[in-house]
């Protein structure tokens, strides 16, 4: 029985109608999770390019020793902006874009739990990013590195507005992120279709749930750290002032208590994508589903107990280092479990090498390399030679690009047909994959060597006599290959948007709920909310089950395979609203005012309160209740 027999083809709504109809205003006021997802996607793509160009400028400067292309201050600003943008304004929002588009569809919901809050999260992300980048024309880019260690970032050693832009922009973005965490946590717990038990959730949704929890627990400590930094800088407090009896190392703790879970925030969604893509393209359900789920939970949990591994050279003493080094190593176990289960899923399958699958396989191969260098860092004495060198830079680009970025590209190729109703070109997709894969390895593999041979990170130049010239040159060449790697991607997106082949509801013969609705999905997603009676509901009516749950059909439900063309009864959807935007603007104004004008802060507060009250007293959905 193939899925095409089941999958309802609702006809092709096509790209330019339905989801995409309506003018700018309809996008500004939208509270539809799919549209917000697309806004997130496009915005973070722009930030990715900007940060990518910054990365390439770094590489250009390092192409040869004692280069004088960038002056040191500019270089320092660029790596700070590159890291900060990649993590907070490209990586995370790109992930949230996928949460937005995919999660409600995967759980059989019509929207997220709080659509207007969702819109607010988007505006705060956009405004925080724009605010950070307004430091560029003002020539006040932050230059403290993405983890902004005190006391270099105090007002004494970093006068000027640079670090204020960093602090305030991340505070603003953090509020939106925490709101998003609450939103997705509640959505996934509460809005699952009938029968969608936890052990039937698609893996991507599972990871979204775990990541929401990570956000909720990891961002508050960061927020507190940022507030301390802001107070130290602006109001003369002494949170990190050694002369006043404080300890500047506290900042490092607060940052990494957040920062390490943050890297799992960045990787787990990619793991989720891959856990959905590999089964779909192997035509075989995920091997060891419960184990893959629990290993994700374990990674997240352990992730809170390892932060000191970023501080092995601080001199915290043998006991602390041993405990945190050991805890860090433990994480290799659940991560390995995932890797092995993915391979076991492919084992015995019928593997189709479409672009999503190529990126997924690329992730398994590349992430392993990054993970293994992670384990080398996890040994505190060994790390004394590695920390703050290009060996670390190699590690984290392997996990961030070979992991997060590959995973997100995989997801992009996988869900693009769902989002637009059009197919991407496989030829261009494959070109994109191979170019990216090669460019990535050429850029970052040599950094292992340059690091071990003595190249510290965050240095705008290096001496000729160090023997680092060749490795750096190769890295720079690789970075430029990246530019070409992006060409097929953009060609592909543009071509598909203009004249891609219609996709149909389920072009990949994939097993999860999002593939039952038309592509692009209607405003209300599901004409009738389906009842789910098994994992992978579009596959295998009755299956033998090894480790997991054995299928039983719940009576009285609506089969996910039969989505009628039109909803049988009127569906109430939330109305568009501009209050989130008003509130977002208010908060932006407050943030900008915090650079030095109490009056502007108060103005922003007034606008925020206006937005809040408008929001609270606006009927949220026509005719509801």
């Amino acid at each position: 029985m193939t899925a095409s027999e089941h999958a309802l083809d609702n006809g092709d709504a096509g790209v330019h109608e339905g989801l995409y109809a309506g003018g700018i205003w309809s996008w500004v006021t939208t509270v539809d999770h799919k549209r917000i997802g697309i806004l997130y996607f496009l915005t973070s793509l722009v930030f990715l390019l900007v940060a990518g160009v910054e990365g390439q400028l770094l590489r250009l400067q390092l192409a040869r020793p004692e280069n004088r292309f960038l002056d040191p201050d500019l270089y320092n600003q660029l790596f700070t902006m590159h890291g900060t943008t990649m993590v907070f304004f490209a990586g995370m929002p790109l992930i949230v874009a996928f949460f937005n588009f995919v999660v409600p569809l995967q759980i059989g919901a019509r929207d997220v739990a709080f659509p207007r809050l969702n819109a607010l999260s988007y505006w705060l992300f956009l405004f925080a990013g724009l605010f950070l980048y307004s430091s560029v024309p003002l020539r006040a880019m932050p230059d403290g590195g993405w983890f902004a260690y005190m006391p270099l970032t105090s007002s004494e050693y970093s006068p000027g507005l640079g670090m204020d832009f960093y602090v305030l922009s991340l505070l603003l973005a953090g509020i939106g992120t925490i709101a998003g965490g609450v939103n997705f946590f509640v959505t996934i717990l509460n809005m699952r279709a009938p029968g969608m038990r936890f052990m039937r959730l698609p893996l991507f949704t599972w990871m979204a749930l775990i990541v929401s929890v990570l956000i909720l627990l990891a961002f508050p400590p960061f927020t507190v750290g940022l507030v301390f930094m802001m107070f130290d800088r602006s109001f003369g407090t002494h949170f990190f002032d050694a002369a006043a009896g404080a300890d500047p190392v506290l900042w490092q703790h607060l940052f990494w208590v957040f920062g390490h879970p943050e890297v799992y925030i960045l990787i787990l969604p990619a793991f989720g994508v891959v856990s959905d893509v590999i089964p779909a393209f192997s035509r075989k359900s995920l091997f060891g589903y419960p184990v893959v789920v629990f290993s994700g939970i374990l990674i997240a949990f352990l992730g809170f107990g390892v932060w000191v591994h970023h501080m092995f050279s601080v001199g915290l003493g043998p006991v602390v280092n041993a405990v945190f080094g050991g805890a860090t190593m433990l994480i290799a176990i659940p991560t390995g479990i995932k890797i092995f289960n993915w391979i076991a899923t492919m084992w015995g399958g019928q593997i189709r090498f479409n672009t999503p699958m190529l990126f997924a396989i690329g992730l398994v191969g590349s992430f392993t390399i990054g993970g293994l260098s992670g384990v080398m860092h996890a040994s505190p004495p060994a790390d004394l030679q590695q920390t703050d060198t290009y060996f670390v830079v190699a590690h984290f680009h392997y996990v961030l690009i070979g992991g997060t970025v590959f995973g997100l590209f995989s997801g992009l190729y996988y869900w693009f047909p769902k989002a637009t109703g059009r197919m991407l070109s496989e030829a261009l997709g494959k070109a994109h994959f191979w170019l990216t894969f090669i460019a990535f390895n050429v850029t970052f593999f040599p950094m292992h060597f340059s690091g071990l041979l003595g190249m510290p990170r965050r240095t705008f130049t290096y001496a000729e006599g160090l023997g680092l010239d060749v490795f750096n040159l190769i890295s720079t060449i690789g970075a430029f290959m990246f530019t070409f790697a992006f060409i097929p991607l953009f060609l592909n997106l543009w071509r598909a948007w203009r004249k891609g082949e219609p996709a149909g509801a389920n072009p990949w013969d994939a097993p999860t709920l999002e593939w039952t609705v038309s592509s692009p999905p209607p405003h209300y997603n599901f004409a009738v909310i389906p009842t789910v009676d098994r994992r992978d509901p579009l596959w295998h009516p009755h299956i033998e089950v090894g480790l997991g749950w054995a299928g039983e059909v719940e009576p009285g439900g609506v089969s996910p395979r039969v989505q009628p063309k039109e909803p049988p009864e009127p569906v109430h959807m939330p109305d568009p609203s501009y209050w989130p935007l008003v509130m977002g603007i208010g908060m932006l104004v407050m943030t900008a005012g915090a650079l030095g004008s109490l009056g502007v802060v108060l103005l922003g507060l007034a606008v925020t309160m206006l937005g809040l009250f408008g929001w609270a007293f606006e009927p949220s959905e026509s005719g509801a209740h």
Partner: protein, 189 residues
């Protein structure tokens, strides 16, 4: 959009509890900082010279009692007793304001005794920790205020019991944090 709930808890209530869970980390970090820095002050004034236990006991009592008012307001609206609802909401907000007044007095007193925010490590940690709590109280007072106004306009009845309940969850949480701060800051100097 309030759809059916898979867990049996409404979205809003679950969201409030989720938010409270997250707030635990926020206050946890602030408290950790306070505790780590306790006793590391290098210039005075020191906490034991300034903290006024009898005074703060009174405001603590006021905040605790506001929590009682809050549950009474909830109980009232569940019975659809709108008059009582109004009264108790008002009293809760009022007690919250009294607490804030006390905090204002305390801060002011400290500043006059030579402990402005930027004075030393104690002032930094103390003001930011208790100030964050005070900010939460202030937010709660505004929230309760709007509920009170809605109640006086007759726009709040038993169908809105959950709205009051959620505001109450927030309010009690802020109270619970103060229970911890009162012990850690004032009694364990």
């Amino acid at each position: 959009m309030e759809g059916p709930s898979s867990t049996g808890v409404s979205n809003r209530k679950l969201a409030m509890w989720t938010f409270i869970g997250s707030e635990c980390m926020l206050f946890g970090t602030l408290i950790a900082t306070y505790l780590i820095y306790r006793g590391r002050n290098v210039v005075g004034p020191y906490p034991d010279e300034l903290l006024n236990i009898p005074f703060i006991t009174v405001t603590t009592f006021v905040l605790l009692m506001s929590s009682l008012m809050m549950v009474l307001a909830l109980a009232a609206i569940e019975r659809n007793d709108l008059k009582k609802t109004k009264i108790w909401l008002f009293m809760t907000a009022l007690f919250g304001l009294i607490f804030l007044g006390g905090q204002y007095y305390e801060f002011n007193h400290f500043v006059h005794e030579g402990l402005p925010l930027s004075r030393n490590l104690f002032s930094s940690t103390f003001f930011v920790l208790t100030g964050t709590h005070g900010g939460h109280v202030a937010g709660g007072v505004i929230w309760l205020g709007t509920l009170f106004v809605r109640a006086t306009q007759g726009k709040l009845d038993a169908t809105h019991a959950e709205t009051v309940e959620i505001a109450g969850l927030y309010w009690h949480f802020v109270d619970v944090i103060w229970i911890v701060l009162f012990t850690l800051i004032y009694l364990l100097v």
